[in-house]
Symmetry: C3
Subunit: 188 residues, 3 copies
């Protein structure tokens, strides 16, 4: 079920302690990359790294690097051990909530990329995104859901964020997530 907290996480406005010049406020405290500066400017924070729910083993890597590419596992809208959105789009969630879930999914993926790459600026270009949406019967505007992922990547990376994509309706996604996205990115 989408929580109020989730919406806040995704759309939190720039915090007053940073003021309108978030870039300087942040870079004044520690060296962060361009992408993290943009996140701060947008008032967004990376969620905590995914913690597997009780009783579920996840024996795979969030990110696997080979040949200058990072292959990124399917991610969903998690903040640590908290699942921010659950349910089928067109039933428990409407398309706007699902868009937010896809945006939260992008943020969770960025957390994994930062942890494994050290810095998000190491992602030079986005290549391919494969998004899945849990659809209630009859809901098929899956592109409008996965746009929540794509829009954030384009806002952050600009031209370098452009990617090929598919948006598929899944029967079920792990743990009732409404959205799951995997990706291939090229490293600097």
């Amino acid at each position: 079920m989408p929580s109020r907290r989730a919406t806040i996480l995704v759309r939190r406005s720039t915090r007053t302690t940073r003021g309108s010049d978030a870039r300087h406020a942040v870079s004044g405290t520690r060296a962060v990359g361009l992408i993290e500066n943009r996140l701060a400017e947008m008032g967004l924070e990376l969620p905590a790294a995914l913690v597997a729910p009780p009783g579920v083993r996840l024996p795979y890597e969030s990110v696997r690097i080979h040949g200058g590419l990072a292959y990124v596992s399917g991610h969903g809208p998690f903040d640590g051990d908290r699942q921010l959105f659950s349910g089928r789009v067109g039933a428990e969630l409407d398309v706007e909530q699902a868009y937010d879930a896809a945006r939260a999914t992008a943020l969770s993926m960025l957390t994994s990329l930062k942890r494994d790459l050290g810095e998000l600026d190491r992602v030079a270009t986005w290549i391919k995104v494969l998004g899945f949406v849990t659809c209630a019967e009859g809901f098929n505007v899956t592109p409008s859901v996965i746009n929540g992922f794509s829009d954030l990547i384009l806002e952050l990376w600009g031209e370098a964020g452009r990617h090929a994509r598919s948006a598929i309706g899944a029967a079920e996604l792990p743990l009732g997530m409404p959205v799951e996205v995997e990706a291939i990115v090229a490293l600097a």
Copy 2:
């Protein structure tokens, strides 16, 4: 709903204005590649490039090139803004119609590749195809549907068209499409 027009598009016989020697008829007028010659010999024409339906944003690239590979977004059976086939296989469509939809999907993908690569001959080899089929409950012969895509690629590229593949039953595909296919190809 499959339209009569769609069937004509996919199976149109060689037009009389080209006669039986389509290759020469075509290459006599302008320099086209080997693949486009074969298309003409088969009496096939590339559809118009996909135009997003009203109210749907598609903020992604049809084709994304990196490291000598082209990553191709999920395509469906479109001709410009016209969706040539709709519905679930095993309900609104039978397997032969769905085969035709997969073939039309291949043609739509070739339109994207031609536009982005300049010429289809730049596709040196096909590598991987991931096909999705909207299945009515109980329909599971998804390979026989995606064969409509694979057969056309093999007819056009011969040995170089050989590819690894999966054919998956999706709960829903964008806008009620019966088939969606994404691919990875290697460039010359």
Copy 3:
């Protein structure tokens, strides 16, 4: 339907003709690779290569190699022409049976890799796994199913078996298979 034979295939204990030191027993008869030695030590045998069921054409390659990577087609729990598991997880199969089906799927994929590469040791590292699970309504612990695939790869390859992954609920899979997995591996 899961057969008793299937369970035997997946979990067969080391055969008495090999004794407890399977590695020497096997390597004494012919040179096999490290991975095949491990399989023998675990009491596992590779199934026969997939034979397409009657009336179904599969015009694609099991494995397609390009740029030092092998792109592996979607595989399921087959032994030659015998489908070892059928049905939806959460209905005809429980999660333990589905785990076994994913393990049998890994073995079938290894058969394809051995046939096309000559030797399994040519698989230097695993990169990416995309798994699909046919889910009865309400079953969504797809990761616990695909773990049957991942666990076997990690048992056999160790660190080199680590991979990025997604586990998606499909509406239908070819021929009623409960599990289908495709992969990208890097070659030595």
